[in-house]
Each structure stands twice: as structure tokens, then as C-alpha cells.
Symmetry: C2
Subunit: 141 residues, 2 copies
DNA sequence: TATTGTTATACTCTATAACTATA
DNA sequence: TATAGTTATAGAGTATAACAATA
């Protein structure tokens, strides 16, 4: 019943350690994506619309848990970088689609993301690794 | 080799799922601590200085990964709520110590935190639970 | 009526630079 | 010289309300 020694009494709390681990990993990912001038949310959008040309801003926001209103500056940024364009679906909705340059950048995002996820999993001891995703999924509604 | 079905291609990425799980859990904890008008960072400070009367603002910040400058409004808030006082150690440093009211609130924080951590772990399947903390700890430097 | 895209706004969290007073 | 506490500020991320146009 003994625990890992630490002068931080909060190190024994799963919720606290969960937040610290997520913060550490997101800082690392943000740093790697910064090399191609993208934020994590930018990369998430590119990965989500890969191979699709029918997703609207609202739909993307629902999947990624980003408010409708907050999608606007995000997509404006991607459009200014010429990675995506807005294409009318009807007179109200518009599809967010990758430009040719966006597809090239998507390739870089996929490469960075793949390496990042591999490095993340590699840090987890073999015996614990298969239990990582099931545990996390159980915490998400 | 098949994966959990999802219309969100990012659901297969450990880093992404880690962030989503942490966000969900922190939102839940923030909600519970809101019942006693505390933020997560407030509660973290109270838990850290429990039973101690010698920790300075800088030391607390180092352990909790909160910038020195950002400790000021946090402690001001706790002091305004009469949960802590600043006691001079010398003419430069001051110890952050719980008031009697702070100790009472600490008891409530401990109760809420204990229940929260138990509920969090209870959501994780039995087979995965023992692997949760070791996996997360491996991700923190 | 409900939804889409948008604007405006505000609040939290976090990061940095600089200053003073003291160790 | 280095450190503690502080101030001011700026950048993210996130949340809500409201509006016009359209489904």
C-alpha cells in the first residue's frame, strides 16, 4: 500500500497527475507543430477534414469541441495561410476544404503527429501501455 | 488490430484522447469545487500547505508549476477569503499559512477531492486501473 | 423555427519583462 | 549576485449573447 515517494502530496492524486501529464504532452506537441507554424487546434482541423470536402465549420466544431464562434478566427487563420478555402454548399453553409498547399501541410502534420504519438506511447512501460487508451476512453463520456 | 469505431479520426490518437480525458475530468472537478467557491488552483494550494507553516509563495509555485507572478492574484484571492495569511519569515520572504477558517475549508476540499478521485478511478475498468497512474507518471518528466 | 456564420465581448489561464527590496 | 514578492501586460483558450440570412 506504500506509494511513490514525493515531496508533492498531490502526486498521489490521479486527477492531478492526469492534468499534469496532459499539459506536458500538449506542450511537447505544440512545440513540434510550432516548427510548421501551426497550433494544435489548427492541426486538429486539418487532420479531421483530411480526405473530405463536405464538413462545415459547425460540424468541425462539434467534433472537436470548439464553439461555433471560436471556429471563425481559427478558420480565418488557416484561410490566410492558404491551407483551406470556404466553398459554398448552399447559400447558408460552406464546406471547409483543403487547398493543394493545405494537403502538403497535412502531410507534414500527419508525419509530426505520428511521430509524436509513437514517442508518447514509447514512454509508457510495456506492461502499462495496452491499458492506456481504454482507461482514458472510460473517462470521456 | 481493429479499433473502437468513431466518426472522429482523432479518437485513435493517444495524445488527443489524453487531452480530452483531462479536460473532462478537470471540468468535473472545477464544478464540484465551485460549490465551495474555489478554483482548482485554490484547492491545490490548500492541499499543498496542509499541515505546514513554512512554504513561501515561490516554493508553492515551483511545486504546482505556477509562475511566481501568477501566484500573487491567487494568494490575494485566498487571503481576501480569509483562508490564508502571509506571515513574515524574514524581511524578504513570507510563509503562507492556513487560517482557522482555512483549515475548515481544507477539510471540505479534502472531502471533495477524495470523492472526486474515487469516482474518477471507479470509471476505469478493473483490468486497466492499476496501470493508470504508472502510465501517466511515465509521461511527466 | 432552427441552424449557419459571424461579431463582439469577457473571463480564465498562462507567460514574460521589469522593478524593489532583501538574502 | 541571486532571490522573493510584486506590477503590468500580453497572448492563448474558452464561453456567452446577439444578429442577419437562410434552411
Amino acid at each position: 500500500m506504500s506509494d511513490v515517494p514525493s515531496n508533492d502530496p498531490l502526486a498521489a492524486l490521479p486527477g492531478y497527475v492526469l492534468r499534469r501529464a496532459a499539459n506536458a504532452m500538449m506542450a511537447e506537441l505544440a512545440s513540434r507543430l510550432g516548427a510548421i507554424d501551426l497550433k494544435i487546434s489548427d492541426a486538429s482541423v486539418l487532420l479531421l477534414i483530411a480526405g473530405r470536402d463536405d464538413m462545415t465549420s459547425s460540424e468541425i466544431g462539434k467534433v472537436l469541441d470548439i464553439q461555433r464562434a471560436n471556429m471563425v478566427p481559427l478558420l480565418n487563420r488557416l484561410e490566410a495561410a492558404e491551407l483551406i478555402t470556404r466553398q459554398p454548399l448552399d447559400r447558408k453553409s460552406q464546406a471547409i476544404v483543403l487547398t493543394p498547399e493545405g494537403r502538403t501541410t497535412l502531410g507534414e502534420v500527419q508525419s509530426i503527429t505520428h511521430q509524436f504519438e509513437a514517442d508518447l506511447l514509447a514512454r509508457i512501460p510495456d506492461a502499462d501501455r495496452p491499458h492506456f487508451m481504454p482507461a482514458l476512453r472510460a473517462l470521456i463520456d
